[in-house]
Amino acid sequence: MNRTLGEITGFVSTYPTGLPIYLIVAAMLFVLGIMACMLRRNAIGILIGIELILNAAILNFMAFWRFRGGLDTDPTMSGPMFGIFAIVLAACEAAVALAILLNLYFNFGSVEVDKIRQMKH
């Protein structure tokens, strides 16, 4: 289906802002998350980058679900369901990661990943 640029961007109001725009926003979030993971020295900064990547992925799932018709064509709710499970698993991941980081801080006095070459004394 070919849409005009106005329809895709949502500046023509007969259709909501289209799927490619959501995908581009999610791609930008993903790349920013990757850059944070590569650049940060503070391990919690890396965690923030991981959260950005996870959110980009969930946003992609939701956008694909919605623009295939959403609730009307897919009553199994695959998009939001995946989002909910991903959010719960992100909570698990954040809890365990912060527990490990606190242990690192107790042992090394720092959470700078450059200074931590091994997990044990």
């Binding site: 289906m1 849409r3 949502g10 500046f11 109001s13 259709y15 909501p16 802002t17 289209g18 799927l19 490619p20 725009i21 959501y22 995908l23 581009i24 926003v25 791609a27 930008m28 979030l29 993903f30 790349v31 920013l32 998350g33 850059m35 944070a36 590569m38 650049l39 020295r41 503070n42 919690i44 900064g45 965690l47 923030i48 959260e51 950005l52 959110n55 939701m62 018709g69 959403g70 609730l71 009307d72 064509t73 199994t76 709710m77 998009g79 939001p80 369901m81 959010i87 719960v88 909570a91 698990c92 809890a95 365990v96 912060l98 527990a99 490990i100 980081l101 606190l102 801080y105 700078e112």
Partner: protein
């Protein structure tokens, strides 16, 4: 009643589309600061606005439940946890060490290349979209039904995983004797 209302082709999307662009500005600016700000506390605050904006996206995409879940768990839970982590592990007001310019340049180039690759793929594909989209109906009832029928096993597994992770995390940070 709500399904009848949803079947009517709805053309007044301008409000939602304006909201989309406002949210997009907020999300991208705050994500930029969350990813690249050297002050880690500032990054966490920027992540707060970013996650709120993404909850707005979920609302626009027709899942109010996921939006509320995002606010409660991400903003209310994970972000507060991150803040605790920052405040417990950072010496007060300490900034991240300055990045070496080479690393900074390398990361920026790699990021731009990755972004260009992904976006060229997005632009090349002609994405299939349904011709008319209805106004999203309430999604709480179908989500609840699906959680206890089709997705029952993943639901239980995720619950057990969450319990194990929380117990494991509490075990890891316990205060050791002597």
């Amino acid at each position: 009643m709500s399904t009848e209302a949803a079947n009517i082709a709805f053309t007044g999307w301008q409000g939602a589309n304006i909201a989309f662009w406002v949210i997009t500005v907020v999300v991208l600016v705050s994500a930029f600061f969350a990813a690249l700000s050297r002050n880690i506390v500032q990054a966490a605050f920027a992540l707060f606005f970013c996650l709120l904006g993404i909850a707005g996206y979920y609302l626009l995409l027709g899942s109010a439940f996921l939006a509320v879940t995002q606010i409660i768990i991400y903003v209310g839970g994970i972000l507060v946890l991150l803040m605790f982590g920052i405040l417990l592990t950072n010496r007060p007001l300490q900034r991240d060490l300055p990045y070496s310019p080479w690393l900074y340049m390398l990361v920026c180039i790699a990021g731009l290349l990755l972004l260009a690759a992904i976006e060229s793929v997005i632009m090349m594909v002609s994405w299939h979209q349904v011709a008319t989209l209805s106004v999203p109906a309430s999604d709480v009832r179908p989500l609840g039904k699906m959680l206890i029928t089709k997705y029952l096993l993943p639901f239980e597994l995720v619950g057990i995983t969450l319990l194990l992770c929380l117990v494991g995390a509490a075990y890891l940070v316990r205060r050791r004797e002597q």
